[in-house]
């Protein structure tokens, strides 16, 4: 867990130049078989997103075309080319959670944060994403805030969690 927490905090306090982040990630993964996904995870872990302007550098460093790198970034839900909120909130939309009221929960979460899926709150704190299963299906509905999964979440529990998170 420590790795992830560090990544989260690095996003907030990071002032590294994207070019340097990309260069060091390329140095690390250029010779790794199938290294593009770990490289993209690394870059996004530091910068919070993968800037479009750096796609060409990534491609050159990894010996790929820009189209290939763009293709991979756009294929996976986890990768983003635009800046995001400090913390991502994921609401599980899958069946086990639906059976316990997640359709109502997702409506509430959207209204409470004032954003749709993919949107970032006006204060820049949270980005809201859908997720299809967090593997917590015996205690649904589930949400994930940063890297913490929360079980049996209803509207009032969500508000509690949000309040707790804002005080951190």
């Amino acid at each position: 867990m420590d790795d992830y927490r560090q990544k989260e905090s690095r996003v907030s306090s990071n002032n590294q130049r994207p070019e340097e982040v990309v260069a060091s990630a390329v140095l690390r993964y250029a010779d790794t078989a199938g290294g593009l996904l770990p490289l993209l995870h690394d870059i996004q872990g530091v910068l919070g997103h993968i800037p479009k302007e750096n796609v060409a550098d990534i491609a050159r460093g990894m010996g790929l075309s820009r189209a290939e790198v763009h293709g991979v970034i756009s294929f996976y839900h986890d990768f983003h080319t635009e800046p995001r909120g400090l913390t991502t909130i994921q609401v599980c939309r899958a069946e086990a959670c639906q059976a316990m009221g997640s359709r109502e929960l997702e409506q509430h979460v959207k209204e409470s944060l004032g954003v749709e899926y993919g949107g970032t709150t006006s204060d820049g704190r949270f980005t809201l994403d859908p997720v299809y299963c967090l593997g917590n299906c015996a205690c649904s509905p589930s949400i994930r805030i940063g890297n913490e999964v929360h079980a049996r979440v209803d509207a009032s529990r969500f508000e509690e969690l949000l309040a707790e998170h804002k005080t951190i």
Partner: protein, 522 residues
């Protein structure tokens, strides 16, 4: 004497507050001057009792659950003042582990160690029978290992139920300088968590299983493709891999045998389709997770074009039991051609949800009533989706079906990875059918048309059925569309999306009739 207290570090346990319970116990021990060691074990999978803590006594353990942080304070207070006698009287005390019938009734083979051991301690794993399988395998010829797995009757636990030994045989028989063992840990099906539970509770078992596989087929490199939604599993796996390497049970010259095998964990990036084996291989190669045409089979041309075993977490884990206890032992469990144990996962609207490991052959009803205790909401059960988002919605008339691969196939359903998602009578089956199509549209890799376009048309059609006063025509079109997706898709994603849709239409036709109260009734 130090008293050990076990508190799971499992995702679900922590989602219910286990971390704060652990902190509270540590703090209270300090305050009260108690000699207590907190151990973060894995969960036993009795999630309805989490956070569940266990206090060691005379080699046994006294169990409490579900407990809150406040309860933890109370339990330590009783312990410091009255000792074990007081603990047994505590209202949240469930007795010893064997007193929990929900657990003791199960036949745990793959999950035998879950909850007993500290997933970060290799010695603890060995103490509980770990690495006995590898020890045997190191004394065997590759062909004999493969033969052992074949004769156990073990079939792939990811959902396709392909005989594991036959897959291994193909890789063994294919000559190549480099071969791979890959573990599919992209457990994306809703209602499933068995892979996650195993990786968080007993990660060495997976590593041992992969190592046995590597010896059998002659591979020197292995990858675990783990979904990004499982950060805790990533942490336990990486820790376990480092420990196994440190003890020379993994890496170069394993146990001085001259065999080498390395494992690396690769994290996915939120694409359900990467649970499909060929898509997973493309993703491991650093590409878009596009489904490949078969043939060639991955066993012949897999990762980076080399012969590759692709097995699910539970399959590789089960191999350790097969090797340690012998194929006959494993064969004894099960029904028909489904041998061994089914690791069913009770999920959704269920009172006692969690992991139930029983021999194949129990009925669906025994599981969700006997173990599950009915719905969490207290309302009647209406539909049960078995086998993930691509599995059928099973109506009451089929709840006595035996849980084995063939019996479920016969009723037009599938066991898949063993997820059992219960819905009560407030469920709107038209919405569930629509969601199946919507999910396919979101997660399709886009390579084949029936899946990419068909799913979008499916959503539109179901929307029209919802609005239409006479939907007979659209229902026919929906069936045609399902037929096209079923027979024309490249992989199971498009091919099986019709399964939940058709089962909903067939068994719950009233939900597809016009209803101007729709939206109000829920």
């Amino acid at each position: 004497m130090t008293t050990r207290i076990y508190i799971p570090a499992d995702t679900t346990a922590c989602a219910l507050g286990a971390d704060s319970v652990a902190v509270e116990i540590a703090v209270q021990s300090q305050i009260r001057g108690l000699d207590i060691e907190v151990i973060r074990n894995g969960s036993r999978g009795a999630f309805w009792l989490e956070p569940l803590i266990e206090i060691e006594q005379d080699g046994g353990r006294i169990v409490f659950g579900p407990i809150s942080r406040g309860d933890a304070t109370g339990i330590l207070e009783v312990f410091s003042e009255e000792g074990y006698d007081g603990l047994i009287q505590h209202e949240l005390c469930l007795g010893s582990v064997s007193d929990i019938e929900w657990l003791s009734r199960q036949d745990r083979l793959t999950f035998a160690r879950a909850g007993w051991t500290d997933p970060r301690q290799l010695d603890d794993y060995k103490l509980h029978g770990g690495y006995e399988g590898l020890t045997r395998a190191l004394e065997m010829l590759p062909a004999d290992i493969v033969e052992t797995v074949k004769s156990s009757g073990l079939r792939g636990r990811g959902g396709a139920a392909f005989p594991t030994g036959i897959k291994w045989q193909t890789v063994l028989d294919t000559d190549a300088e480099q071969k791979y063992v890959t573990c599919n840990a992209d457990e994306g099906d809703s209602g499933t968590f068995a892979d996650r539970l195993l990786m968080e509770a007993d990660p060495f078992q997976l590593i041992e299983g992969m190592t046995i596989c590597a010896l059998a087929v002659g591979a020197t490199m292995g990858y675990i493709y783990l979904r990004s939604e499982y950060p805790r599993a990533l942490d336990t796996l990486n820790h376990a891999i480092a420990s196994a390497q440190g003890a020379r049970l993994l890496g170069d010259d394993i146990c001085g045998s001259g065999h080498s095998f390395h494992i690396e964990v690769r994290v996915g990036a939120g694409a359900y389709i990467c649970g499909e084996e060929t898509s997973m291989l493309d993703s491991l190669e650093g590409k878009r997770g596009m489904v490949r045409f078969k043939p060639p089979l991955p066993a012949i041309e897999g990762l980076f074009g080399k012969p590759t075993v692709v097995n699910n977490v539970l399959t590789l884990a089960a191999v350790t039991t097969v090797l340690a206890q012998g194929p006959e032992f494993y064969q004894e469990y099960g029904s028909g051609r489904s041998r061994g144990t089914l690791t069913a996962q009770l999920a959704g609207n269920i009172r006692r949800g969690g992991l139930v490991e029983v021999p194949f052959g129990a009925s669906l009803r025994e599981l969700f009533e006997g173990y599950g205790g009915g719905t969490a909401s207290g309302r009647p059960v209406r539909a049960i989706q078995v086998g993930g988002p691509l599995g059928a919605y099973v109506p009451e008339s089929q709840w006595d079906t035996r849980l084995d691969y063939e019996a479920f196939g016969e009723i037009g359903a599938m066991l898949g990875h063993g997820g059992i998602v219960v819905f009560d009578d407030s469920v709107d089956m038209l919405e569930q059918a629509r969601f199946a199509m919507e999910f396919c549209a979101v997660e399709s890799c886009g390579k084949c048309t029936p899946c990419r376009i068909g799913s979008v048309r499916g959503v539109e059609l179901i929307d029209r059925i919802r609005e239409s006063k006479n939907s007979a025509k659209q229902l026919n079109q929906l069936e045609d569309l399902c037929e096209t997706m079923d027979s024309g898709s490249l992989c199971a994603m498009g091919g099986l999306t019709p399964m939940p849709v058709r089962s909903a239409v067939k068994h719950f036709p009233m939900d597809f009739e016009y209803n101007d109260q729709r939206g109000v009734k829920r």
